[in-house]
Amino acid sequence: MNILAIETATPACAVGVRTTAGLEVTRVVDDGRRHTEALTGAMQTLLEEVGLRPRDVDRVVVDRGPGLFTGLRVGIATAIGFSQALGCALVGVTSLEMLAGGAFDAGVRGTLVACVDARRGEIFAQAFLLKDEVTVLDEARVTTALEIVASTEAKGAPAIFTGDGVERYRIDFQDRSFATIFDQVVPSVHAGLSIGSSRMPDEVVSPLYLREADAVANFTTRERPK
């Protein structure tokens, strides 16, 4: 199976391709939130590098979040368009699963909390157990670094923290006896390729926002664009 993976949940944009023959290339374009400009060109380049034509792709895997709303929409709209145009399978995986998978692939074992920067002082977080395989321990949710640190401490067991949410609020995680940091900012497309290849395709992939549109919560007045 030839698989293409798309990652746009964080400020970087990453693409990965794995061929039926087992050849794999991944690339991270990290020039700060320029997902739209970088993504399609990177897909084209990587496919050329492994000698695939677009129509050779059997499956598209996309990070459906949580993460940057705009980034998610760019990645998912691209994944929808590409898979629909080719009539190939589409699979959504979460940014938190990709972070957990990335840590697992790097040899990390134990209880891991994946943290994606949610802006405005918050993070998206989910706990996983990394043993012989990766298992989910709780639901993905919006929280704060301090809350997640406190609740981990209360459980009395050590945990490993990873993701750009940890990077952003490093001061809250570091120098704590029960917390280790595994440095990883961009959800792993390598892990995305692996997770996505073993999963049933989705009928519909939609962003995992985990947060209401701001406006719905506190809307005053807004004009149409000029």
């Binding site: 320029r34 368009g81 549109a213 004009e223």
Partner: protein
């Protein structure tokens, strides 16, 4: 037959359409998220962006199948997509999808200015248009007077210096406690009101072609604050007459200085009855043809984007995959 797939997601409509080089519309699909925005009295960008992601795939598929094309191998010349102006989060959905379709099918794509798209709308209903054309483009987002030498050739003679005409309608409607969008409701009420009931100032009396509606809106607010109990229908009629008066006065002046063969209305506010009547009269007076597109072609749609795309793909280079969305792209900057 050279077919172009058009995609439009600049505001609250997710639209896709297939048009040929003769500007015949083979399909035109529009999904609007307007119902989600009503409660907020205006389009909420984040909600619009969310709606686009949910609808873009099905809308494009429907446009292809309704045009009788194989959605996996549509045999099109290329893809035209609105890349500005508009809401950035909305534009990005259409643009991202368009690039992906282009890569998958191995066809070129081109970023289209939404306003230029509106200028192509009359061509979708009249292939025998005589040029040059004077076009009044009025909607919730834009208000311009444009002189068109031919398809793809345009000079912006004037534009609003503050609110768009449709925006002023929305604001006045909100002030009067009417629904959103305000245009249709004010237009409906105005039919039974007296347009002279409210004394509103004549605005923008200079001899340029620029427009302004913010002052009118403020004048309506002031007048209704002073005179309680004014019938809403009279306020609506007075406001509508004042908007039409300014637009038609500027149009008349443009026609006096620039002889043209036709006068066209474009944009969502082109549905306004006072404006349609006034433009028809004005065209008669100048002995030129009036082009009043059907409502479906006045409001945002992807057929107009596809039409502009057939022109751009023939005359210009295609866009490259690193094209960004341009939320503030001016029509005057389209080359």
């Amino acid at each position: 037959m050279a077919l172009v797939l058009g995609i439009e997601t600049s505001c609250d409509e997710t639209a896709a359409s297939v048009v040929d080089e003769q500007f015949h519309v083979h399909s035109s699909v529009i999904e609007s998220s307007i119902d989600q925005h009503r409660a907020f009295g205006g389009v909420v960008p984040e909600l619009a962006g969310r709606a686009h992601v949910a609808t873009i795939g099905p809308v494009v598929r429907r446009a292809l199948t309704e045009a009788g094309l194989d959605p996996l191998d549509p045999q099109i010349l290329g893809i035209a997509v609105t890349s500005g102006p508009g809401l950035i989060g909305s534009l990005l959905v259409g643009l991202s999808a368009a690039k992906a379709y282009a890569l998958a099918w191995g066809v070129p794509f081109v970023g289209i200015n939404h306003l230029e798209g509106h200028l192509f709308a009359p061509l979708l209903e009249r292939s025998d248009l005589e040029w040059p054309l004077m076009t009044l483009l009025v909607s919730g987002g834009h208000s311009l007077i444009v002189l068109q030498g031919g398809p793809g050739e345009h000079v912006v003679l004037g534009e609003t210096i503050d609110d768009a005409a449709g925006e002023a309608y929305d604001k006045v409607a909100r002030w009067l406690g009417l629904g959103y969008p305000g245009g249709p409701e004010i237009d409906r009420l105005a039919q039974s009101g007296t347009s002279g009931a409210l004394k509103l100032p004549r605005s923008m009396t200079g001899d340029d072609y620029d427009l302004s509606f913010s002052g009118l809106k403020t004048a309506v607010v002031r007048a209704t604050e002073k005179q309680h109990g004014l019938p809403v229908a009279d306020v609506a009629a007075s406001f509508q007459a004042a908007v039409a008066e300014q637009l038609l006065r500027k149009l008349r002046s443009a026609l006096e200085h620039h002889p043209v063969k036709g006068l066209a209305l474009a944009g969502g506010v082109a549905a306004n009855s006072a404006l349609r009547a006034g433009v028809t009269e004005l065209a008669q007076e100048f002995g030129i043809e009036a082009h009043l597109p059907t409502l479906a072609m006045c409001t945002d749609n992807a057929a107009m984007i596809a039409a502009a795309g057939t022109y751009r793909l023939r005359h210009d280079a295609a866009s490259s995959f690193d094209l960004s969305a341009s939320p503030n792209w001016q029509l005057a900057d389209v080359s």
